[in-house]
């Protein structure tokens, strides 16, 4: 859990150690608004204090890392604000399970890809070997056919008609 003590203006007076570990930065003296990521600019401490039982989703910026989401409640205590940020264990567990499954699926697909690639490489080599042999074995008979064709054209062109010559 994150714990902040804020001034009524939102300046961070103190935090627990976990808050420093999560944000990876020095927090005391900074504005809470600068620590959180509030893209729409809708968050307001005064509004939050008026409804202390409502948990608010707040993304905390992490120096050199991705933001983390906490469920915050805010309470006023004399001249300071106490802010508590909780992680949602169910949400994290779902995330963990899904990442685990995705990693397993990706890993299995990668294995299948390598396996199929090796099979294709082997088939390609076999195809090349077959074509090499076929080319070699066909060269001689095709050469003979060509030679006889040339012979026929030279020696029998007077008795071959136009249709014969077309072949």
């Amino acid at each position: 859990m994150l714990f902040f003590i804020l001034s009524l203006e939102g300046e961070i007076v103190s935090t627990n150690r976990y808050a420093k570990e999560v944000t990876r930065r020095h927090l005391t003296g900074q504005s809470f608004y600068d620590v959180m990521l509030d893209f729409s600019g809708e968050f307001n401490l005064v509004t939050a204090l008026n409804d202390p039982s409502t948990e608010r989703i707040i993304h905390i910026g992490v120096e050199g890392g991705t933001p983390q989401t906490f469920y915050f409640t805010f309470e006023q205590n004399d001249d300071c604000i106490l802010a508590f940020g909780k992680l949602n264990a169910d949400e994290l567990e779902t995330l963990r399970q899904e990442i685990l499954s995705l990693n397993q699926e990706q890993s299995n697909l990668m294995r299948k890809l390598h396996q199929t690639n090796a099979r294709l490489k082997r088939l390609n080599e076999e195809k090349n070997r077959f074509l090499g042999m076929a080319a070699h074995d066909l060269r001689k008979p095709i050469g003979l056919v060509l030679a006889y064709t040339d012979f026929l054209i030279d020696e029998a062109k007077n008795i071959l008609n136009k249709e014969h010559m077309g072949f």
Partner: protein
């Protein structure tokens, strides 16, 4: 051979989730042309057994264990280009984890060792419904089906999977293995005909080489 100091460095990095450090150690071993079977048994299998033991004794968390497993699975990809390039012997095997079994790395390593020995080792994956498994076997027509079991409480699911295979393919050779059997269950398996229990990757190699 994987030296003790290399193993220690790898295990420490694995337990701390330092993926890139683990990757470098494995890549360095591959660059020195380590035997793949040694890499599997002396580094991957040994370290995962240790991770499992630490988890069972509440020394590391589920998250630690899952991260170590995920890192190992990722590192197997480094081996695949040379693993699948070995000559084929014309035999096929389908390796499966039964329904409810989410631990798949052991089964995958079994399929890989079969590949290394010239088999076509098809791996189905974690938590596969029995109907899908039967269909895959029907399509693939393997010489052998293997089951991996990591969690002892999934033994009934394994029995159901074996029954499904036995019904459709009564003479199929079956292999079973996995860390779950350290806690019992072997008596159940021995009741099935043509079914062999394999305790390690080394033993798997001996069995498939002797036929």
């Amino acid at each position: 051979m994987v030296h003790q100091n290399t193993y220690d460095a790898y295990l420490n990095a694995l337990l701390a989730g330092r993926r890139l450090e683990c990757r470098k150690i494995v890549q360095d071993l591959l660059d020195t042309h380590i035997e793949i079977r040694e890499l599997y048994s002396q580094l991957f299998q040994r370290s995962l057994y240790k991770v499992g033991e630490l988890w069972e004794n509440n020394r590391i968390t589920v998250a630690n264990e899952h991260l170590a497993t995920a890192i190992t699975e990722n590192l197997l990809n480094l081996v695949y280009p040379s693993l699948f390039a070995t000559d084929r012997i014309g035999k096929k095997a389908v390796i499966s984890c039964s329904a409810n079994e989410y631990h798949q790395v052991g089964g995958k390593m079994v399929a890989d060792i079969l590949e290394l020995n010239g088999w076509d080792g098809y791996f189905i994956g974690a938590n596969k419904p029995h109907g899908d498994m039967a269909q895959y076997i029907q399509d693939t027509k393997p010489d052998l089906v293997g089951f991996s079991l990591s969690i002892p409480s999934n033994i009934n699911s394994l029995k159901q999977a074996i029954d499904v295979v036995r019904t459709d393919f009564p003479n199929m050779d079956l292999l079973v293995g996995g860390q779950a059997f350290r806690w019992g269950g072997l008596d159940t398996i021995k009741k099935y005909k043509n079914t062999i229990y394999i305790s390690t990757l080394d033993e798997l190699e001996k069995v498939i080489k002797t036929g």
